[in-house]
């Protein structure tokens, strides 16, 4: 057995073990669990008190990040090849390069993510649980019973419970989940998922503080594939083996606490700290191993949102690959097929934003171009800086 295989095996096995015994790792426990909230409790001291686990996670992540940066700085200073630039690599105050302008697409994406987060956290309380039958496949924890809609992850992680539902419930779950997956696919990951929002926020903080990230190579992405399968098997199968995936899933740490609920955190709290640190250095790290996203990605050939490529316009400059949070390589190596929507593509539009060739990449919905790459978008911003 190769060394790499051994490491992958150990990583997968330990993940499975942690997931199985997740309830043993207590992060933040409440005496009694409260899964609903009311409008009058919003933004009261009680609500704020419920944010403590979330703040704790944030604090631990911040400490972890600072430690990681310090260790890396120390290693850089010790490395003779990089020592001359250790100070520059640690510098935080450099000017922002005025290369690119804000595009409407990105504004819309962020508005979607933030708006959906608010709706999922407080929507049920404000608007009433009108869409409770609909299941959206995103990681917005259904432990929050006051969400606007149901999320598919609960019954996917508890398939044994799904079987006990009346047939209308099963039908509603299956139809709404499949419907969303077939129409949107992983577009939901890029536009709606609250876990995605949290990770994108971490990335934005890193960009704003000019901390250098970790550039993952294709080998590293390959090495994560066994872990992704393990996560999928755990999500689907843990309920049958007597475990509970929710005690392991990091998403449970996010929306219930934000909504002001008392939901105990076990291993998931620690996992969330790890996910936040990882996504700080590597954008959307959790999305690369997300079991739900993996399932949704299967629809990449039928979904209506697509990334299309004009292969003749591409210069293989690799800007898209560098920008892609999911490390999709074929987006720049593809030379024949116009549809480059990958299993892993979350439709975040970063590739289109960074592509310097006119019309080489486009994000399309049912064949209609929503967001097209432009040379001007990449270089026009430099105009201003030149005339200062």
């Amino acid at each position: 057995m190769s060394k790499r295989g051994l490491i992958a095996g150990i990583a997968c096995a330990s993940t499975a073990l942690v997931a199985y015994f997740a309830w043993q790792f207590s992060f933040f426990e409440y005496e009694t669990a409260i899964y609903t909230t009311t409008a009058d409790r919003l933004f009261t001291s009680d609500h704020l008190a419920k944010l403590v686990p979330l703040l704790l996670i944030g604090l631990m992540s911040a400490i972890g990040i600072v430690l990681c940066v310090a260790v890396r700085g120390w290693l850089t200073r010790r490395d003779p090849a990089h020592a001359p630039f250790a100070a520059q690599r640690a510098s935080r105050s450099a000017r922002r390069i005025r290369g690119r302008r804000v595009s409407g697409f990105m504004v819309a994406r962020w508005a979607c993510m933030v708006g959906f987060f608010v709706l999922m956290v407080f929507g049920g309380v404000i608007l009433g649980a009108r869409f409770a039958n609909i299941s959206i496949p995103v990681l917005s924890c259904p432990a929050n019973m006051s969400q606007l809609t149901e999320t598919s992850c609960y019954y996917l992680a508890h398939l044994d419970e799904l079987a006990t539902l009346p047939w209308t419930g099963i039908a509603a779950f299956v139809v709404s989940t499949l419907g969303f997956v077939l129409v949107f696919g992983r577009t939901l990951c890029g536009f709606l998922c609250p876990m995605g929002l949290a990770q994108d926020l971490m990335h934005t903080i890193r960009q704003a503080t000019r901390v250098e990230g970790v550039a993952m190579t294709e080998d590293m992405y390959q090495a994560l594939v066994p872990l992704k399968w393990t996560m999928l098997l755990l999500m689907i199968g843990l309920s049958f083996a007597g475990g509970n995936f929710c005690n392991f899933c990091p998403a449970i740490a996010l929306t219930p606490a934000a909504a002001g609920l008392s939901v105990s955190l076990y291993a998931s709290g620690f996992i969330m700290v790890f996910v936040l640190i990882a996504s700080f250095f590597k954008r959307r790290f959790f999305c690369t191993i997300c079991p739900l996203g993996f399932l949704m990605g299967m629809a990449n050939k039928v979904q209506l949102f697509r990334i299309t490529k004009d292969c003749t316009a591409c210069t293989e400059c690799g800007a898209c690959y560098e920008a892609c949070p999911m490390g999709i390589r074929q987006i720049y190596t593809e030379r024949a097929c116009a549809n480059v929507t990958d299993v892993n593509c979350i439709m975040c539009g970063e590739c289109v934003r960074c592509c310097p060739e006119d019309g080489a990449l486009a994000l399309t919905f049912a064949g209609k171009r929503l967001y097209t790459s432009k040379r001007a978008r990449v270089v026009r911003g430099y105009q201003r800086s030149a005339h200062e």
Binding site: A81, H82, P84, F85, Q88, R89, S91, S93, A94, R95, R96, I97, R98, G99, Q207, A208, R210, V211, E212, G213, A215, T217, E218, D219, C311, T312, A313, C314, T315, E316, C317, G318, A319, E322, A323, Y332, R335, C354, P356, R375, A376, V378, V379, R380, G381, Y382, Q383, S385, A386
Partner: protein, 449 residues
């Protein structure tokens, strides 16, 4: 300046044998200088005689004149050091960030070539011979004032010239990976860190996050103007001669990036005005020719000149001293210092269709796209004698263009005026052939126009 220094030696020392030798050497240098000035002037004159929008090219011709005729160093702020670079794989941003001025030393000079012919291997390419010639004669401030030369190890000739130049000035050989995978990018990032260190040691000014970001903005603006230029030319053909366009892009080698961007901006504004006023260099439907292959460096611009003098129109070029040199922008994805260095490394490797990379099929796609975008009717594949890497790729390109139904000829040339007539015959025949291919009606119309 150096010529004056040579002329100012005292006559008292003119008796010993070594002094005689020195005087002979002096005369040789003077002869070399005057011959090379003469050659530059000849090609500048031929370009002006081409007419069209030649008057718009004045800032670019000036840059050439300054360096090759008046024998001055490039225009730069007082006290700025120059760093000589070759090829497109040396990031200019790094040099600017270290407070120096990069100049591209790839040469097209026939006079220097004839000197270099005796200095380097017989089968070496003329571009490298010309570099060796200039460095051997030591008369051109452009070469002599370089505080450092950065030679990327792209083709064999560049590798050898790196070794050869080492005897005459400080040289940093920059290894360029043969592939473009993730690991190769990582390797090249490490090389660029080393290069940044070497350059800043020579200039005494550190490459900082701030200065690198500023350099990105400066070159980014130049690239913006270049992209504008290319778009204008694509939209309105016959707005200016391709030879002029190639020299304008070539001039970026001898101009400060801000000065070049400013000149391009003025040119673009004027071209936009002329496009609006339908003020074209010709109303004829000339055969639309694209140039590709070995670098075409001023003053070795005989090939595009011949095409346009025989009634063709060079609508685009896929050569590294022309469009390709700067047109691919650097796309910084990450705002950190390391992120900027990565962006430079990626830009130097991935979009570059240089045949020194092991797998260069992407060049075919680029050619195919340019043929489509510029409605190219014929391709001239230029090969400098001894430029093996481009010669190897001719077959691949020919097969691809055959599939597209685009005629292509391989023009081999050397850095000499002797082959001009032979090249003229072939170019004229090629241009005529395209005219005939266009059909009799269209040919007639073009004659009337």
């Amino acid at each position: 300046m150096s010529r004056q220094a040579i002329a100012g030696t005292s006559p008292a020392a003119a008796t010993s044998p070594s002094a005689v030798e020195a005087r002979r050497e002096q005369r040789r240098r003077q002869l070399f200088s005057s011959k090379s000035v003469h050659l530059t002037q000849k090609y500048l004159r031929r370009m002006r005689d081409l007419g069209g929008s030649a008057e718009l090219m004045q800032p670019f011709f000036d840059a050439m004149e300054r360096v090759y005729v008046r024998g001055q160093d490039v225009r730069k702020p007082r006290g700025t050091k120059t760093v000589g670079t070759y090829c497109v794989q040396v990031p200019q941003e790094l040099v600017y960030a270290a407070g120096a001025q990069p100049v591209k030393l790839c040469s097209g000079h026939y006079t220097a070539f004839s000197v270099g012919d005796d200095v380097v291997a017989r089968d070496a390419c003329p571009l490298v011979k010309a570099i060796a010639g200039f460095k051997h004669m030591g008369t051109l401030p452009l070469y002599e004032n370089c505080s450092l030369m950065v030679v990327p190890i792209t083709c064999d000739c560049k590798k050898r010239i790196a070794g050869l130049l080492q005897d005459m000035c400080p040289v940093h050989a920059l290894p360029v990976p043969a592939n473009k995978g993730d690991e190769d990018v990582e390797t090249f990032v490490a090389e660029l860190y080393q290069l940044a260190d070497v350059v800043s040691q020579h200039t005494g000014q550190a490459v900082t996050h701030e200065s690198l970001a500023r350099a990105f903005e400066r070159t980014g603006y130049a690239q913006y103007e270049l992209s504008r230029f290319l778009r204008i030319r694509r939209k309105t053909p016959n707005l200016l001669y391709g030879t002029h366009a190639m020299v304008a892009m070539n001039a970026s080698s001898y101009l400060d990036v801000d000065a070049w961007a400013h000149a391009m901006r003025t040119l673009n504004d004027e071209l936009e005005r002329r496009a609006h006023a339908k003020q074209l260099v010709t109303r004829k439907d000339r055969p639309r020719v694209m140039l590709t292959g070995s670098p075409i460096v001023f003053p070795n611009i005989k090939v595009p000149l011949l095409v346009e003098e025989s009634g063709g129109m060079v609508v685009a070029d896929e050569t590294c001293m022309g469009e390709r040199g700067m047109s691919d922008p650097v796309v910084p994805v990450d705002t950190s210092f390391d992120g900027l260095m990565r962006a430079l490394a990626i830009r130097a490797l991935r979009p570059c269709p240089c045949p020194t990379f092991a797998d260069n099929t992407q060049r075919l796609y680029r050619l195919r796209r340019m043929v489509r975008d510029h409605r190219v009717e014929g391709v001239i594949y230029h090969v400098l004698r001894g430029c093996l890497v481009y010669d190897y790729e001719y077959r691949m390109v020919e097969e691809e263009l055959d599939r597209l139904g685009i005629p292509v000829i391989r023009l081999e040339s050397d850095y000499t005026d002797e082959d001009v007539e032979q090249l003229r015959i072939r170019t004229e025949a090629f241009v005529e052939m395209i005219k005939l291919k266009k059909g009799p009606q269209r040919a007639n119309r073009s004659m009337r126009g």
